[in-house]
Structures are given as structure tokens and as C-alpha cells.
């Protein structure tokens, strides 16, 4: 499953990043990396972005990016 499918306030572990090395490096700036725990904080309405939390820091992710972050509960 991916981050979009996770329910709000649920915590999961990142098991895959669906993209090339530039995509992965960009995500790593926000500590979005394999095996990190990620919490989905909120989903903005009208197909707005997803708010996720990693190591106590929140990050705003467009749905296209969130859908490529694969997680396991």
C-alpha cells in the first residue's frame, strides 16, 4: 500500500520509494527513506496535499509524491 491509502493518524514503515535516484534523494532531505517510520497527519480536501510526519517533523506532500511512497502498517 502507499501513503495515500493509509488512514489519518496511522503510523507505518516506509518499504519502498517508487522513483529514480533524484526522486529518492529529494525525499531524503525530509528524512523520507527506507525503514523510516512515517505518520499520516492529515489529507487536505479537494485533492489537496497529504501531511506526513517523520521524526516529529511535518512535511507537505502532493498526492503524486505521496502515492509513490510505499508503506507497511
Amino acid at each position: 500500500m502507499n501513503l495515500l491509502e493509509l488512514r489519518n493518524d496511522e503510523v507505518a514503515v516506509i518499504v519502498g520509494l517508487d522513483g529514480g535516484s533524484a526522486f529518492k534523494e529529494k525525499l531524503s532531505f525530509m528524512n523520507i527513506r527506507l525503514n523510516k517510520r512515517i505518520k499520516k497527519v492529515a489529507t487536505q480536501p479537494l485533492s489537496g496535499p497529504v501531511i506526513a510526519e517523520i521524526d516529529g517533523r511535518q512535511v507537505v506532500l502532493g498526492r503524486g509524491i505521496a502515492g509513490r511512497i510505499l508503506v507497511r502498517r
Binding site: E25, F29, N31, R57
Partner: protein, 567 residues
């Protein structure tokens, strides 16, 4: 800035308190200048102690050297010029920050690490062994609290001990994992008040009502502070100023009088309507606009430094995407509501040209600056919400519709949102004050001279009869399409220079409410003031500026004509 001078670079991720540290290290002598050959603002200042005499440069925040240099970013070029690097690390976010640290250590430059926000780790349940980290990294590591100044002297004292390490790390994240597990322990802790607020302000169910309240309070505060300044400071000052002006008025005549003093209204100098350089020319920018610009940037600066704005950006992101921009574009838009000039400059935070074109065009068309807002209130205030509300509602609809059209018609797409939400922090007043000062300088440096020039040129054009000539030319549009009297043409011409004066010129014409609404909307939309135009030209280049202006004029004709039919 001499090339021989020793240069110390302040380098770190965005939002690690670099600016606060910079202020602490340099004191008041800060210059903001363009990096050679670019439009990137670079802050530099002096560090002077017994042992050090160097220039300190605040390098714009970066996450990764590789990504920054691949993108041929200025920050990358700046790194080559430094003699020492002070790597600022957010100690509450050590793991992520160390990535850049390891990259910096690979370079052939001495590095010293500042562990900033040292005071915050306690209530976040984080403990860090700084000594151990220093040993592992092989360069000096100094805990700092930029806000209180704690550790700053030690940091300065150790700059000369900065070490070249040149160590290469193959798998950086693996290495970082090892380092963090050795130096950092995290206890479970209860959510702090700020952390609870973080969730509250970004979840749509609570965040959207909160955002509405915040925006409402922002504008209330701006009004209150602005009005207070005018009533208690500027108006009393200008009533003192009236005496020398009257004296000058009695002792001059002819051309000089009409340029400096302007026309007497009922035999007296009227700061609003006389239209002289020394009367209206300085009264309007100083006593009517400046107080609001000051109030606006004070409140916005507090909002920015509290960390609220990225949350607002997240909440409006989906709407902004439909207008071809990121949620983050709300920041230049809000800045533009103070003065369009810094608003246009702030569009640099948007990463694509397409977004910047849309953001700039929308700011110029539909974002009334404080000057325009003040004058719209001046013109339509007595009609209350029916008058003012119609103008702002129209501008809002224009903003949305033009945005949607531009988004549909421009090639390309808006990149996916990817934005860090900074933690809430209590703003540091000295830094807010500094930022306020820089923005006020933009306004006074760019806006006030153009205002004087505008008044002067208009007086000349009147004198030479050019205004009535232009009036004849433009009257079919003004009279037929917009339903305005021919005399309003002069005001619209003045609007090229300063909208505020232009609106002021409409006052004596005795227009109806409908005409005042149309005039206000048209004046706001058809062209930005000349200062904003100059900045747009600098930012967009000639082709896109012309395109932008064409959109403004086209939209104005359509909207002005429509209002004339509907109202």
C-alpha cells in the same frame, strides 16, 4: 567587499536558525546585495574580534551539496569562495542535518559545526553528546542558542580551530545512522503545547477555521496599528509641517507654486487634493501609506517567524494548484498586499518560471497593495461594505478567473508540492525588526521617489495640455466602455505612476458609487504602479512582461465594461 578578505560562510539546511545566528554574529552592519550576475539576495556582515577580522556570508539554505550544485545553484558557487565554513545544524533534527555536514566535510575547507536550538532538545526529550560528536566528526562542535546568544562567544572563539577533514563517506545515510545511535538518545515525552498546535493548525477541520481567524486578525491588526500611527504620529507631524508650507505658498507664484504647492482648495493648502510635490506628493506616501505598510510588514513578519505560513500554504495548496501555483505562492501574494514590489520579488520562492509568471501577473492585476487599499477605502468608505465589498469581491473573482485561465493556457504543469513544515517558534523581535526595516526600505526607496516623480510629471503634463489631449484619445474607452466622465482620464494616466494619487484625483470629481467602484477596479487592474512595473521587467524580461501587461489591459477592459453593464 575585498576579495582578499577572509570569508566565513554560514551554511546549513533551510530553517535551522541561520539568520538568527547571523544577526548574533554580525551585529548591525549587515548588507543585502545581489550575488554577482544573479538576482539572489546575499546577506553579508563583519565579524571582528581580537583574533578574527573577516566577512561573514549567510549562504541560502541547502539540503544537499550535490543537488544544489547539480542545479547550478548560487549557493554552490559561493562555497568555493569561503575560507572557513560554519555548518549550522538543527540539533532537534540531527539525523537529517548530518547529511549536509558529511558532504561539507568532504571538501577541502576547514569546518566548524554549530549545534543550534540547543535549548529546545530538552523539552523534545532529545539528549545529545556533543563531545562524542566532535570526536566522531573530527571538527569542533559547539552547542548554540541563537535566540539567547548562548554559546555564540565560544563559537566565535573556536572559528580559528575549524579543521579540514576531507573525509569521504561512501554510504552517508548508513554512516549517519551509526553516528546518531552513538551520540543521541530520545526519551518518550508528552506533546508540548506547540506540537499539539501543529496538528490542530494543519488538519483541515480545525486548520481552515483557524486560518480564517488568523487572516481576519492580521488585517484587523494592520488597520488598528496603521490608524494609530496616522492619528497619533503622522497627522500631528503634518499639522506642524503645514505652517512652513503655508509660508512657502504665500511667497511663491506661477509655475513654481503649481509644481511645489499645487492648487489651493478653498484658498487653503489641502494635503489630499492640492497635488503639489511638497503637499500631496509627500503627504500621501508618508502619512497615508507608510503607516499601513509598516503595520502590515510588522504583523506579517511575526506570522512568518512564528512558522505559521507553511501551514497556511498547505491548507490553500489545492486551490492554488488550480490557479497554476503552489500553496507557497500565498506568501508573495500576502506580501503583495503590503506593496507589490516585495511581493513580486518574493515569487522567487516558486521554482518554475511558469508559476512565477502566473503569480506575478495575478499580484499585479488583482492584489491591491496597501496604497490602493487605503485609497479604495478613501473613495468608497462612506458607502460601507456595499462599495468596498464590491471592489474587493470583484478583484477576488478576477484573481480566481484569470488564474484558472492562465493555468489552462500556459504550457506545462505545476510541480508536485514538497514542502517542509517548520516547527512553531516564538519570533525573535530583533530579527522581525530587521526584516521590517529591509522591507520598509524597499517601499521608501522605490515607492516614494516614483510618487514624487509621478506628481511632478502630472503637473507638467497638465501645464502643457497633454492630459486633455490624452483624454480625447482615451475618452471612447473611458466614457463609453467604463461609463466614467472624461475628467477621470487624468486620474487613469496618473495611475501609471502612482495609483494612490490617481484615486485621490477622483475624489473631487463627484462620481457616483457605481463610477467609483469601476474606477477603483480599473485603477487596480490595468497596470501596476511604475515601481512594480520596473521590478516585473527585471524579473520576467521583456517578452513575458509585455505578455503580462497585455493580460492586465485585456482583463481590465473586459471587467470594467462588464461592471458598467451589471451594476
Amino acid at each position: 567587499m575585498t576579495s582578499k578578505e577572509r570569508k566565513i560562510l554560514l551554511v546549513g539546511n533551510p530553517n535551522v536558525g541561520k539568520s538568527a545566528l547571523f544577526s548574533r554574529l554580525t551585529g548591525i552592519n549587515v548588507t543585502v546585495s545581489n550575488y554577482p550576475g544573479t538576482t539572489v539576495d546575499v546577506k553579508s556582515g563583519k565579524i571582528k574580534t581580537k583574533k578574527i577580522d573577516a566577512e561573514l556570508i549567510d549562504v541560502p539554505g541547502i539540503y544537499s551539496l550535490k543537488a544544489t550544485c547539480d542545479a547550478e545553484d548560487v549557493s554552490c558557487r559561493m562555497l568555493d569562495e569561503g575560507n572557513v565554513i560554519v555548518n549550522v545544524v538543527d540539533v532537534t533534527n540531527l539525523e537529517r542535518n548530518l547529511y549536509l555536514t558529511l558532504q561539507l566535510l568532504e571538501r577541502k575547507v576547514p569546518v566548524i559545526v554549530a549545534l543550534n536550538f540547543w535549548d529546545e532538545r530538552e523539552h523534545k526529550g532529545i539528549s545529545i553528546d556533543a563531545k562524542k560528536l566532535q570526536k566522531i566528526l573530527g571538527v569542533p562542535v559547539v552547542p548554540t542558542v541563537a535566540v539567547s546568544g548562548e554559546g555564540i562567544n565560544i563559537l566565535v572563539g573556536k572559528i580559528n580551530d575549524a579543521k579540514r577533514n576531507s573525509r569521504k563517506t561512501k554510504n552517508k545515510w548508513e554512516e549517519i545512522g551509526k553516528i546518531v545511535s552513538r551520540v543521541q538518545t530520545i526519551r518518550h515525552h508528552h506533546h508540548t503545547f506547540f506540537q499539539t498546535l501543529e496538528d490542530f493548525s494543519i488538519k483541515p477541520a480545525t486548520g481552515i477555521p483557524l486560518a480564517t481567524v488568523v487572516i481576519f486578525l492580521t488585517f484587523m491588526a494592520v488597520r488598528l496599528i496603521g490608524e494609530g500611527l496616522i492619528r497619533f504620529i503622522f497627522n500631528p507631524l503634518f499639522s506642524l509641517y503645514l505652517a512652513p508650507v503655508n509660508l512657502l505658498s504665500q511667497n511663491t507664484g506661477g509655475f513654481l507654486h503649481s509644481v511645489l504647492i499645487g492648487t489651493l482648495i478653498n484658498g487653503k493648502v489641502d494635503f489630499l487634493q492640492s497635488m503639489g510635490l511638497l503637499t500631496t506628493g509627500i503627504y500621501v506616501p508618508l502619512a497615508m501609506i507608510l503607516p499601513y505598510v509598516f503595520a502590515f510588514y510588522l504583523v506579517l513578519g511575526l506570522l512568518e517567524d512564528s512558522g505559521y505560513l507553511p501551514r497556511l500554504a498547505a491548507l490553500v495548496d489545492s486551490v492554488m494548484h488550480r490557479l497554476g501555483m503552489h500553496g507557497l505562492a500565498i506568501i508573495p501574494m500576502m506580501l503583495g498586499a503590503g506593496c507589490n514590489v516585495p511581493g513580486v520579488l518574493a515569487t522567487r520562492i516558486l521554482e518554475t518560471k511558469r508559476q512565477r509568471f502566473i503569480a506575478i501577473t495575478l499580484t499585479a492585476i488583482a492584489m491591491p497593495c496597501m496604497a490602493q487599499t487605503a485609497m479604495i477605502y478613501g473613495l468608497l468608505g462612506r458607502y460601507g461594505i456595499r462599495g468596498i465589498g464590491t471592489v474587493f469581491a470583484t478583484l477576488f473573482v478576477v484573481w480566481v478567473v484569470v488564474g484558472i485561465i492562465l493555468n489552462r493556457m500556459s504550457r506545462g504543469d505545476v510541480p508536485e508540492t514538497f514542502l517542509e513544515v517548520v516547527p512553531y517558534r516564538i519570533p525573535i523581535l530583533s530579527i522581525v525588526a530587521k526584516k521590517l526595516w529591509v522591507r520598509i526600505r524597499y517601499f521608501s526607496k522605490d515607492a516614494v521617489p516614483y510618487m514624487l516623480l509621478g506628481v511632478f510629471i502630472i503637473n507638467m503634463l497638465y501645464f502643457l495640455g497633454i492630459i486633455s489631449f490624452l483624454g480625447n484619445l482615451a475618452s471612447p474607452i473611458i466614457v463609453q466602455l467604463f461609463g466614467l466622465p472624461r475628467e477621470a482620464v487624468a486620474a487613469l494616466v496618473v495611475g501609471f505612476f502612482r495609483k494612490d494619487v490617481a484615486v485621490g484625483m477622483l475624489l473631487p470629481l463627484g462620481l457616483s458609487m457605481k463610477q467609483l467602484i469601476i474606477a477603483s477596479v480599473v485603477l487596480t487592474m490595468y497596470f501596476p504602479c511604475i515601481a512594480t512595473f520596473a521590478v516585473i521587467f527585471k524579473e520576467l524580461g521583456i517578452k513575458n512582461t509585455l505578455k503580462s501587461v497585455a493580460i492586465m489591459v485585456g482583463a481590465t477592459l473586459a471587467v470594467g465594461g462588464m461592471l458598467n453593464l451589471i451594476l
